[in-house]
């Protein structure tokens, strides 16, 4: 507890007075000031950086834009959204997923998007793209289309080399609307295909 009292003294004008009186005290004060600055940073830095740059969103936030018939459904196994169509006439579904941005999570700082879920089709994959809808015109831009590699749980990773920049393409101000597109095939030989959510990363 003694240490705490000293540390508080360092913050006030008392420090200056002590230092003027005694050079040895000044040396001690400098050391205390050094530790005061360094130690909290060392202790708290891992917590701060891990939280600030990661934003997870459930696929429940997404909007299905398939034109044929609504097939998005709750998936009880993965607790995500699945494509419930099956049989020989199954249809793909497109899920448009919001990318919520603000001053502390600006779209042009997003360097990676991960899409997670379960791929139940051995001959079709899950596709994911980073996109932007133009605000002042019909259309938009989508980056490279990436897909899940194999059946089972997938984690499709969109990076700056594979389309993430489409979230802020041609933007000089927050005028367009970024989103993540997830395309799910119908039920496959392994089971239903679903998406649980997606994670956005900033540095």
């Amino acid at each position: 507890m003694r240490g705490i009292r000293v540390a508080h003294a360092v913050q006030g004008t008392k420090t200056v007075l002590l230092a003027k009186k005694d050079p040895l005290n000044m040396k001690k004060t400098s050391l205390r000031a050094l530790f005061s600055a360094l130690l909290p940073a060392l202790l708290l830095a891992p917590f701060a950086s891990a939280v600030a740059g990661e934003r997870m969103t459930s696929t429940f936030a997404c909007f299905q834009s398939t034109e044929d018939r609504p097939e998005a459904d709750f998936d009880g196994t993965s607790h995500g959204v699945r494509n419930r169509s099956e049989g020989i006439n199954w249809q793909w579904i497109d899920l448009r997923c919001p990318v919520v941005t603000d001053g502390t999570f600006a779209p042009n700082t997003i360097y990676q998007v991960n899409v997670q879920g379960f791929d139940g089709h051995s001959s079709h994959d899950v596709y994911a793209m980073a996109c932007t809808s133009w605000k002042w015109s019909t259309g938009g831009r989508c980056g490279n289309s990436l897909r899940s590699a194999a059946t089972g749980y997938y984690n499709v990773t969109l990076t700056s080399g594979s389309g993430v920049d489409a979230l802020y393409y041609w933007r000089t101000a927050p005028w367009d609307y970024p989103y993540v597109l997830i395309q799910l095939p119908g039920r496959g030989d392994v089971g239903f295909t679903s998406s649980v959510g997606y994670t956005l990363y900033t540095p």
Partner: protein
């Protein structure tokens, strides 16, 4: 902020240093045992009224000016495509595959394919609809289609002066950039 427990293996000296540091940072410190330190933030400091400056929203944008800017950017990309040399080994099979993709799309929303031009790393598909309304109904399908090449794609359909006239646009596929 949540309480945090930081394990400490060293002895009293280091603990005292940590206490100094945390005290200086404006947090309170509770000693639970010689091996664990719990940190919790003190009450937030009183903020003076003049310090709480709210960020102002961005200045309103002239839609027409913004449209011109985006169109100019897009024109630049189409011109860069025109300047690209043709690499037949990539361009021919890619164009053939894209034509097949467009044929599949046309079965639901009729439109004319006036040209598919592939070069070294980009392709431009020139498409036409009977009117603007029908063109806009196809925009989303073109943007999200699983094309034979999984490249970045741009669809831009600015509103024409006359919506009921045939509408033509160029869809760009960029296989180099993301």
């Amino acid at each position: 902020m949540k309480n945090r427990t930081v394990p400490f293996s060293s002895g009293r000296v280091l603990l005292a240093l940590a206490a100094c540091a945390v005290g200086a940072a404006g947090a309170t410190l509770t000693l639970r045992s010689t091996s664990a330190v719990s940190l919790s933030d003190a009450a937030p400091p009183a903020v003076r009224e003049e310090a709480t400056v709210r960020p102002s929203p961005p200045a309103p944008v002239d839609p027409a000016a913004e449209q011109r800017r985006v169109l100019a950017e897009y024109e630049g990309e189409l011109q860069r495509h025109e300047l690209e040399p043709i690499q037949p080994g990539w361009a021919v099979p890619t164009a053939t595959g894209l034509r097949a993709d467009l044929d599949a799309l046309r079965t639901r929303r009729p439109f004319s394919v006036l040209g598919v031009d592939c070069r070294t790393r980009t392709c431009v598909m020139t498409l036409e609809w009977p009117d603007y309304e029908r063109a806009t109904q196809t925009a989303s399908a073109l943007l999200h289609h699983r094309f034979v090449v999984p490249c970045a794609r741009t669809v831009l359909m600015p509103e024409p002066p006359q919506r009921d006239k045939p509408y033509r646009t160029q869809v760009l596929l960029d296989c180099m950039s993301g």
